[in-house]
């Protein structure tokens, strides 16, 4: 499984766009990039997943450059309720027994 590096913490004000970048220099050809969100005292929640270029859903956008060695999760106009830990995961789940490899995550704090 590819090793990922992401900031330990980030702060933002309400209404701002937040971009969390994850480095994964040794990403393999078949690896996908997946982001999860975890609120305190809850299980992680799937946010978005991609392989290359850009993916957008109702919650976030995921930008992946051509070399795929990094990815950026973009949260538009964050609110207080977006305060959570965000995990970047990279791997080929079919070869890992379908297990997700969670790292330390980025703790995002949104303030008024």
């Amino acid at each position: 499984l590819a090793k990922t590096t992401q900031p330990i913490s980030m702060d933002s004000y309400e209404g701002q766009e937040v971009n969390i970048t994850c480095s994964h220099n040794n990403i393999a050809t078949n690896d996908y990039i997946t982001w999860y969100q975890q609120f305190p005292s809850q299980g992680p929640r799937f946010i978005i997943q991609g392989y290359k270029t850009k993916v957008t859903n109702e919650v976030a956008s995921l930008f992946i450059p051509a070399d795929r060695k990094s990815s950026t999760l973009s949260l538009p106009r964050v609110s207080l309720s977006d305060t959570a830990v965000y995990y970047c995961l990279v791997g080929d789940i079919s070869h890992s027994g379908y297990a997700l490899n969670f790292g330390k995550g980025t703790s995002l704090l949104v303030t008024p």
């Binding site: 996908y32 809850q42 299980g43 929640r45 799937f46 027994g97 379908y98 969670f102 330390k104």
Partner: protein, 115 residues
């Protein structure tokens, strides 16, 4: 409707006891998992099951035994509980095939405290 449910939500017990945590999913998924999140918030895979068969068993003491009576249930039984077993245990499920397998649905967690 709760997608992935776990019982109990809290479990306080003494060292040496045996306890079980139950997990049920109503999503029709073929694959289920147990994860452990320790006090430092690291979330690690313990087991994964596909169609009631064990497909991954990370370095977990054999005091931990998962049991899958059917595709919708994956229970975790823990023998001879130790202080170090105190953690939050999450059950999860996902489809097996394709990219949807990356989209795992987690239960609310069971906070186990061993005294």
């Amino acid at each position: 409707d709760t997608a992935v449910s776990q019982t109990p939500k809290y479990l306080v017990t003494q060292m040496g006891n045996d306890k079980s945590i139950k997990c049920e999913q109503n999503l029709g998924h073929d694959t289920m998992y147990w994860y452990k999140q320790d006090s430092k918030k690291f979330l690690k895979i313990m087991f994964s099951y596909n169609n009631k068969e064990l497909i991954i068993n990370e370095t977990v003491p054999n005091r931990f035994s998962p049991k899958s009576p059917d595709k919708a249930h994956l229970n975790l039984h823990i023998n001879s509980l130790e202080l170090g077993d105190s953690a939050v245990y999450f059950c999860a499920s996902s489809p097996t095939s394709g990219v949807r397998a990356y989209e795992q649905y987690f239960g609310p967690g069971t906070r186990l405290t061993v005294t």
